[in-house]
Symmetry: C2
């Protein structure tokens, strides 16, 4: 199986490593509009060769789009125009607008919408690593719109990455990830901004970060270029979660100011229920 990967960052690069290492792909063809990323991926052996988008599509059986959401929305219809037998998939964290965009495309059945729920706060081909996806969930969206053969091939591919398959329609996907992923990133970005603004002594931040700050702020290191388009394509869901989140913070603030210890303990005990789930 020849696999073209468009976008050789953390996700594309990590897929490349394990798909070849585990013998799903006989050859990985890389495409990246960023020359430095392309050359790095080639130099560190993540891909076998770098090609133009057209050549890469022509020479491959599977095309994986691992680029920001807004680029995926633009590029996906054009890639579908060019495909014959190729199967196309993407890895975006938003799915509603993407699936909407190509809903009536004549080659829709060649496309399988997926979202592998894995990552780190780092980006670029340097951040790619083996084992990134092991044991994590991959969400297949609107899979009834893909051909059985395309779906089977992409399921097999994610099996090589040791991922658990879940199935949802694209709009429920976007609601769930707003709650379970997108809000965590915003909460982390806002936390970093707060601390950077208020704590002028950077050495204090470093010294004191073991008090819990390090884990809650980790996601604030994430790529702005990747996250802005996600927010753009999941606005309504994110707005709803952010409103609820801010309300809970206001509740905390009011109870702390009024020294309502019993009520504070009550809501923290409620929050503790997360222990049983995670």
């Amino acid at each position: 199986m020849q696999v073209a990967i468009i976008g050789l960052g953390l996700i594309g690069g990590s897929m490349a490593i394990d798909l070849r290492k585990r013998n799903f792909a006989s050859k990985i063809i890389g495409v990246d509009s960023n020359n430095l990323h392309a050359q790095t991926a080639l130099n560190i052996g993540i891909v076998d060769k770098i090609e133009s988008l057209e050549t890469a599509i022509e020479q491959s059986d599977i095309v994986i789009l691992s680029i920001p959401a807004s680029d995926t929305i633009k590029l996906l219809p054009k890639i579908l125009d060019k495909t014959e037998h190729q199967i196309i998939t993407d890895v975006c964290s938003v799915k509603g607008n993407i699936c909407e965009r190509i809903k009536y495309h004549s080659k829709r059945a060649n496309y399988v919408a997926t979202h592998p729920m894995a990552g780190t706060e780092n980006s670029g081909p340097w951040a790619a690593q083996s084992g990134l996806f092991d044991g994590k969930a991959v969400i297949f969206c609107d899979s009834e719109d893909s051909s059985p053969q395309a779906l089977m091939t992409i399921r097999k591919m994610y099996e090589y990455l040791n991922m658990r398959a879940l199935f949802m329609n694209a709009y429920s996907h976007d609601v769930h990830v707003a709650y379970v992923s997108h809000i965590s990133h915003i909460s982390s970005f806002a936390l970093a901004l707060t601390v950077l603004e208020k704590e002028k002594n950077e050495k204090n931040i470093f010294d004191l970060a073991s008090g819990g700050f390090d884990s809650t702020v980790r996601l604030a290191k994430s790529s702005a270029e990747m996250w802005a388009p996600i927010f753009e394509h999941n606005t309504e869901n994110i707005r709803a979660v952010l409103e609820t989140y801010i309300n809970h913070l206001e509740e905390f603030k009011d109870l702390i100011i009024q020294n309502e210890k019993e009520k504070l303990i009550e809501i923290m005990n409620k929050a503790n229920r997360i222990k049983k789930i995670l």
Copy 2:
């Protein structure tokens, strides 16, 4: 050196383990008002014996208070009343009110105010572990109010726990930890409440948590009984941080709703500066 530990939870228990294992303490005497905790600590070998508070103080050279902040404030003056040669320290995450409370106590010099910045989201003697403090920072507050000999002894004790000593006055300590530790916990508790309220399907939370949620929500598993008194004794600082934090979240919300992509990228790049520090 005989060490009495009042409160055999995560922190007290973990100190007990390494202080004896590394030959700082020849004997660990445990005190806990919770019988189950006391018996468990004895059964799993964290302490050599369980005694009443009075007996434990009498028989020890060092007394470590590792109980919630409000109990520390109540108990510390009474313990100082009883001490002769004993050196007393505590581990609370708030220091201003505690130091204020015993500022004019005749035995003030026997007390060393410290805050070891280490922990996990788990609690109780079951959560105690060796190595918890290794490489982390311990903050000494108002150390000029402790006798040189008491300070030296407690510094030595934290050296056995492999901690880096930092020095601050109690009020700056409380400001810094509000930014770098307390806000992280509130942010995490509020996040857990948001997701538990909105995502009724717990299996989805579990399945999708690898999208970043797991790390940002980890602290929401923390003990409510420990955190309520911390909020109570650091109200003003926490209120200030929470206000700034909520403002940043509102800014994110507005920019997302108005689809101000460039400005979103700008503030996320600003947040990314945390990478250089942590």
